[in-house]
Amino acid sequence: MKLTKNLFKKPNNPLEWYDSRTKDSIPDVPDEMCISCPKCRAIILTGDLNENAGVCPKCGHHFRLNSRQRIGLLTDADSFTEHDGELRSTNLIDFPNYDKKLWHARLKSGENEAVVCGTACVEGFPCALFVMEADFMMGSMGTVVGEKITRLFEYATEHSLPVVGFTLSGGARMQEGTLSLMQMAKTSAAVKRHSDAGNLYVAVLTDPTTGGVTASFAMEADIILAEPGALIGFAGPRVIEQTMRQKLPPGFQRAEFLLEKGFLDDVVPRGRQKAYLANLLSLHRKEA
């Protein structure tokens, strides 16, 4: 009864409720349906869009992908083995409505948490891989996200594996209070150990990568890449506009802006990513 009553209720938090009708998502509709590209306004068949890895065939706008789509796109067939997929967040500090939010997020994303971790091969090169999930509270980092990323880096250190990570996050998860903040330090320490042991870490920043994730493992990679047009920053653009009462210049905090300012190694379109990463993995391959 309660469920049907709230069925049509508008979610009270647009930042965390990722509405499937928003312009940046790929609606789950039959192939013959159309979608309008938010950038060039071209009408695209969703079937064409899916075949093109979620990139607008007309203007190259990158739509968001979920973590499984991305893993499918990037890794060799059947090479992905998931790690710690069963870990689930609990309401550690009794934050109001957090249990309900987690339940919605699991339902919406089909995932247990906001990051999927594991090992895989990219064109035959083995690596440890993490991919963050927009549909789970916009990839926010709570204790379980921090724990999964930390475990992945520890595993990779132990097995001398390179790490490839796709970041996407609204930042630290406020519903877990200061414990979320601690995940920034925890993951950074694990990245440091992995790095000091001489292992490669490549991060690919996707739209959006902000807050506590930008200020920790996203910006700590040896090689930092980004998808075209991805929003990347510490403070979100709305926060800056509100607090500074300052209109932001066009292109501010986009991948191309960060490349120009010297904070990225390259901007790599989705279609080229697999070959690009395989080449990097090959160039850093340790002699057996």
């Binding site: 009270n12 938090n13 930042l15 689930r88 609990t90 550690l92 500090i93 934050f95 109001p96 709570g142 204790t143 379980v144 921090g146 724990e147 930390t150 630290a172 998860r173 406020m174 877990e176 209070g177 200061t178 414990l179 903040l181 601690m182 995940q183 920034m184 330090a185 925890k186 950074s188 320490a189 694990a190 990245v191 440091k192 150990r193 790095s195 000091d196 807050g211 506590g212 930008t214 200020a215 920790s216 996203a218 910006m219 700590e220 990347i232 920053g233 510490f234 403070a235 926060v239 800056i240 607090t243 500074m244 300052q246 932001l248 210049p249 501010f252 905090q253 802006f257 300012k261 904070f263």
Partner: protein
């Protein structure tokens, strides 16, 4: 006392700032300026001093007192060059075997165009990573506000202490209330929910010690002086390897499920 009352005390205009602690606790303080990359951020003060005869590196976020001084200090919200200056001094501390003492007091890292285009996120990230393996003891003391990543960037330490009224949170209660409840009158409720007081954080083992605040802060400086000295001596007694293992484990344990 409600969480929001602690926060109000932490933000009070007449509350002693970072430089007061430096003057009250250390002797022979020499300030060191600049990050050698871009500039000298006034929101973070760094330098070398003596504590009961022992040379130490001191890093403090400084909000400034008086309107003019506050503006010059950017209200204690550092730009990337502030964090890079702090890291530079910490690296020197490592080289010369000095322990590091950090005083944290910031509403958060500065959020504005200038900070973003110079890589605020990258600067904080680098501090977290480098501090996690800095081969010398680090003690961080929260003396006022501890705003999110901007505070953590000086608090990846072997021990973290908080003054009785100091706060440490992932987001400001104002930000939390406006995002979650779209209602800025819910600030006090948000402060309570975020578990940001010294007492809450001691319970969560995020801090090791809560320092009571006497009416007269001069007494506090005396107490802190001996407290910090003894802690640094204890930390120095661990070998480097043991020190770093303990620091790693200190953060590793937060939020391990089950």
């Amino acid at each position: 006392m409600e969480a929001f009352e602690h926060l109000a005390a932490a933000r009070a205009k007449d509350r002693p700032t970072g430089l007061c602690y430096i003057r009250g606790i250390f002797t022979d303080f020499v300030e060191m300026h600049g990050d050698r990359r871009f500039g000298d951020d006034q929101a973070i003060v760094t330098g070398i001093a003596r504590l009961c005869g022992m040379p130490v590196t001191v890093v403090a976020q400084e909000k400034g007192s008086g309107t003019k001084e506050r503006v010059r200090r950017n209200f204690g919200s550092p730009h990337p060059e502030g964090y890079r200056k702090a890291l530079r001094q910490m690296k020197l501390a490592e080289k010369f075997g000095r322990p590091v003492v950090c005083f944290v007091d910031t509403a958060g890292a500065f959020c504005g165009v200038s900070a973003e285009e110079r890589g605020e996120g990258q600067a904080i990230a680098e501090n977290l990573m480098e501090m996690s393996a800095l081969k010398t003891p680090i003690l961080s003391i929260f003396i006022g506000e501890g705003g999110s990543g901007g505070a953590l960037a000086l608090a990846v330490a072997d021990e973290v202490w908080m003054l009785e009224n100091a706060c440490y949170s992932v987001i400001s209660p104002e930000g939390c209330a406006s995002i979650l409840w779209k209602d800025s009158s819910q600030v006090s409720r948000a402060a309570q929910c975020l578990k940001m007081t010294a007492k809450d954080l001691l319970q969560l083992k995020i801090v090791e010690r809560v320092v009571p605040e006497p009416a007269d802060f001069e007494n506090l400086y005396e107490n802190l002086k001996t407290g910090i000295y003894h802690k640094l001596v204890d930390l120095q007694a661990f070998g480097t390897e043991e020190l770093l293992r303990r620091r790693y484990d200190r953060f590793r344990k937060f939020g391990v499920p089950g």
